[in-house]
């Protein structure tokens, strides 16, 4: 089976692309996890999981020096039947999806005062999305959110991040058997915000999880979506879009832990970059453990570099401990927005800015269609045009 993997990382143009790290095959398996921040040493920047992140821009989230000042508003709007609670740290439900796996995630878990818990009852099929508006007013905040979907329930949750904040957060998704959850997390921060979060999904038997991560803003955004299967037949689709502007650091690190038989995962992240020192990082770790027979997984990352001075590190990493799987593959490619494309379109009378828009819209369109949410589609494409507009003028 392993021979059939259409693996490969290709690069075009003079773009630096991270090389898959040389490490023992079980490096990810042994990734340390703990709820307690004191169990993690302060990172110095050379660790595998921190080597792409500019620690000095984390404003102390990583070394314990960022004291909570508040200034984060979290408003949850939910349709009838959904329970929305603000609970204490002692609430026994918290932390079930999984433990924090790095210092900042553990800092968030050790520091939040109240958590938001959204519960969608068993069998409920929500007609409208649950909306969580997270708005920062400039302070340092530690946040924790748990979304639980009861067995056979179906829900869409949209989390919007706006304003300015220095935020370390943990988000848990607990999916009951046969449930379906779609989560859209939009990082539309001001360009000053720092946002580091671990999103942990525990997918029940035959449940379906779809995650759409959209990152446009922020000075530094580092998200770590993790998928763990609680029973066979689970399915995860992880989609991501990012538009990294000059000076921004946007990092998406994914981990899918196939430890259960007959589960599927599909990852597709696409990003466009423009401007000096725009830096996008994509890490796609997929682990297929010996027990996970019948696994089917594929992950893809594509980057479009629009201008000089931007940098992409794209590192797919697939570890397979059993040959009894349906499929496993990954692809990563980074291409430069090419002047020949621009010339071709302009030579047909299309003005410069419109030609750029066509190419960038085209780059994202396929993914946006794959996500298959009509109202989100317009919003995303509109936002992409806005980003292009802002950069052109």
């Amino acid at each position: 089976m392993a021979d059939n993997i259409p693996a490969g990382s290709t690069t075009e143009g003079a773009i630096q692309v991270g090389q898959p790290p040389q490490q023992p095959a079980d490096a990810r398996v042994s990734a340390f996890a703990s709820y307690n921040v004191a169990d993690f040493p302060v990172p110095h920047g050379r660790e595998e999981e921190w080597r792409f992140t500019p620690l000095e821009r984390l404003r102390g989230l990583h070394d314990g020096s960022a004291e909570m000042t508040g200034g984060l508003r979290v408003e949850v709007t939910a349709p009838e039947g959904v329970t929305v609670e603000t609970v204490d740290r002692s609430d026994a439900r918290l932390g079930r999806a999984g433990k924090p796996v790095d210092r900042v995630a553990a800092q968030a878990y050790s520091s939040f005062e109240k958590a938001s818990v959204v519960t969608i009852p068993k069998d409920a099929v929500l007609a409208d999305p649950v909306r969580i508006a997270v708005h920062g007013e400039g302070g340092v905040a530690y946040e924790h959110v748990q979304i639980e979907v009861g067995a056979f329930a179906e829900a869409v949750v949209v989390i919007d991040h706006t304003g300015d904040a220095t935020l370390a957060a943990g988000v848990e998704y607990v999916l009951g058997d046969g449930s379906k959850l779609t989560v859209v997390s939009v990082q539309d921060w001001d360009d000053t915000a720092v946002h580091v979060a671990q999103h942990t999904a525990l997918i029940g038997r035959d449940a379906g999880f779809k995650s759409v991560v959209v990152t446009f803003g922020g000075d530094l955004v580092r998200l770590h979506p993790r998928v763990i299967y609680g029973g066979p037949g689970g399915e995860a689709e992880l989609y991501g879009l990012y538009f990294t502007e000059g000076g921004q650091h946007q990092e998406h690190r994914l981990f899918i832990d196939h430890d259960t038989p007959h589960c599927r995962s599909n990852v597709a992240y696409k990003g466009a970059l423009q401007g000096r020192d725009a830096h996008a990082v994509w890490i796609g770790d997929v682990l297929i453990r010996a027990a996970a027979e019948g696994t089917d997984t594929y992950e893809l990352n594509r980057n479009l570099v629009l201008t000089d001075g931007a940098r992409v590190d794209s590192v797919p990493n697939l570890e397979i401990e059993t040959g009894e799987i349906i499929g496993a593959g990954h692809a990563s490619a980074t291409g430069r927005f090419d002047d020949e494309q621009l010339f071709y379109l302009m030579a047909r009378g299309i003005p410069h800015d419109e030609a750029r828009r066509l190419v960038v819209r085209g780059f994202f369109a396929e993914l946006v269609q794959q996500i298959g949410m009509a109202d989100l589609e317009e919003r995303l494409l509109g936002k992409i045009e806005e980003e292009l507009e802002a950069s052109v003028s």
């Binding site: 090419d338 071709y344 030579a347 419109e354 085209g362 994202f364 369109a365």
Partner: protein, 257 residues
């Protein structure tokens, strides 16, 4: 009556090997192309034919160091690439570029809108595209494919001529449209070019290495291009001479430099 006038055109490209960083490719091109006329430009590899084509379209790789190009008296060299296209200059490229994620139908409509100055009416547009594609033996499924992505050589050239027919330029520059085509594709492509020529609305600059295409597209004038300029001009009979004798008479020591 649209007229393209090229006078004493000098063009250079960036070069690491020369002292001033530029290497001159076109060394004084003079040519006038009027609406309704067809001029064939023939020459050996490296003679500067394609440089002429791309310079007229405004490719940023080429620097005009001297001379003038006007279209009905308007300074073409002062125009941006898209302005030239909207003014009526069309370049059918030898190596059309892939544009991932942009469908042919979207591309054609966007360019037609730009060139015509208003969006074509949807109903007549769909019909116009469909009929033109049929005549060029382009499968309807092409409309939904991405521009030039995965196209064969022949498909790319037919797609170029499709654009020529839809955009109706006053000056069409065909850069080695015939190269890499089998006989059937060459015939289909040539018929497309001839349909446009027969309107009498277009002046055609047909750049080619081979005389083969001239069996399908009859030029009014043939120019031999060597060493970055036109070295001989004549009627269609000049092409016959080239067919028989090749370019050796125009090339020193086997190269055109």
């Amino acid at each position: 009556m649209a007229t393209l006038e090229i006078h004493d055109l000098h063009v250079s490209v960036e070069s690491d090997s020369s002292a001033d960083g530029l290497r001159e490719i076109l060394r004084g091109v003079d040519l006038t192309v009027k609406q309704g006329e067809t001029h064939a430009i023939m020459g050996p590899n490296g003679s500067g034919k394609s440089t002429l084509a791309y310079s007229l379209a405004g490719h940023p790789k080429y620097t005009v160091t001297g001379g003038t190009v006007t279209l009905d008296g308007e300074d073409v060299l002062a125009m941006s690439v898209d302005e030239r296209a909207r003014a009526g200059v069309f370049l059918a490229m030898q190596y059309p570029v892939e544009v991932p994620g942009v469908s042919v139908s979207n591309f054609l409509r966007t360019s037609a809108t730009a060139v015509r100055g208003e969006a074509p009416k949807l109903r007549t547009w769909v019909k116009e595209v469909k009929e033109t594609m049929e005549r060029l033996q382009i499968d309807p499924s092409f409309a939904e494919r991405n521009v030039n992505e995965g196209f064969s050589g022949g498909e790319k050239k037919r797609h170029e001529i499709l654009q020529l027919e839809l955009l109706k330029p006053s000056i069409a520059i065909l850069d080695e449209t015939d190269s890499g085509l089998d006989v059937d594709a060459l015939r289909v492509v040539s018929e497309g070019v001839n349909r446009v020529r027969e309107t009498g609305e277009v002046g055609t600059l047909l750049i080619t290495h081979y005389t083969r295409i001239l069996r399908y597209i009859k030029p009014d004038q043939v120019h031999v291009f060597a060493g970055g300029r036109i070295v001989e001009s004549g009627g269609a009979e000049l092409a016959d001479k080239l067919e028989n004798e090749g370019y050796t008479a125009y090339v020193k020591g086997g190269t055109s430099e």
